[in-house]
Symmetry: C2
Subunit: 195 residues, 2 copies
């Protein structure tokens, strides 16, 4: 992070975003409960369609429960391999991002739902990074074992899991992310017209 006093808010934000990386390897340093609350607070600040504020967060830190969740995906009893991804049983915090669907099953309803979920997720990831924490946004695992997770987390039938976010202090510091340049992703007036 460059000296903040010399940077505008946009510069600070760009620097933060440029360093967002998928962190899958964590130290065992615990994450302060008040800090977790700040991350969730940040998530609530994002927009939601009709201001429905439908996001909910199940924060899992209990070792037994993390082990049960981890065993859905990994060889039961797996522990961290040096330098490899941390098994979910050993990640300090697993945040399950869940939501009722207040919008219904039409195409506009389904867009409204996802546009009300992932902006909040991104706020949470950015806030975590600003606090020196690592995270990784996962969605497939939740879908693959939704039935089992629903039981373990006591989720009502009308509440779906949209993401699982492992959170902890990174075992390794990663550099800036690499992305396609703007000229490859932006178009002028019509699709295909070079920026």
């Amino acid at each position: 992070m460059t000296e903040p006093a010399t940077l505008s808010t946009l510069d600070t934000l760009e620097d933060l975003m440029a360093h967002q990386r998928a962190v899958r390897s964590f130290t065992d340093r615990p994450v302060d409960e008040a800090l977790i609350a700040r991350l969730i607070r940040a998530a609530t600040r994002a927009p939601s369609a009709k201001n429905a504020q439908c996001l909910r967060f199940v924060v899992v830190r209990n070792p037994g429960l993390k082990r049960q969740i981890s065993d859905l995906y990994e060889q039961p009893g797996t522990t961290a391999a040096p330098g490899g991804p941390t098994p979910w049983s050993d990640v300090p915090v697993l945040i399950f991002v869940v939501a009722e669907d207040p919008f219904g099953n039409s195409p506009t309803g389904q867009s409204a739902l996802v546009a009300s979920v992932y902006p909040g997720v991104q706020n949470l990831l950015l806030a975590a990074q600003a606090a020196g924490l690592g995270t990784v946004l996962t969605t497939s695992r939740a879908k693959l074992k939704e039935r089992e997770l629903r039981d373990l987390l006591n989720l009502p039938e009308n509440v779906d899991i949209h993401a699982v976010i492992p959170v902890g202090y990174p075992a390794v510091q990663l550099g800036r992310n690499k992305r396609k340049p703007v000229r490859e992703v932006a178009f002028r007036e019509r699709y295909g017209e070079p920026w």
Copy 2:
């Protein structure tokens, strides 16, 4: 914005997020092209599943094209009413967020897609706000007139519109957003267990 020199990055970010509001009423001050590129650059920094980087941005500023788009929704020829929402014909910039779907139509594929779209959208919205711009995340209008927009923007059949983001300088300065407190949205270990 409080004095940045006295604030940590997390404090700065929380303050920015707490002031994110849906801005629908814009001045006619033009938006610098280099600044638009910075917003898109910010969007590219967000995570995408398998690092697919599938987001694309069609930036519409041409008055004739904005008028054609606006006429899909508003009485043709509508102009801004004092204090009311700015018709899309008069919004300085309309950014269409579009994407091919590299993930396929399975439940995990569909989650991967939306989790690769809206984090980038939120980055764009936050960067705009840090630059003093107003935005509003819209999705329904795109879905309701997808066929017509596809023609106007020359979108290939395999590219879908996920959001339309009007961008401009806000006509009115809005205060902090109001959100449910963390204790109403966070649960401890299992759904329904109070934070």
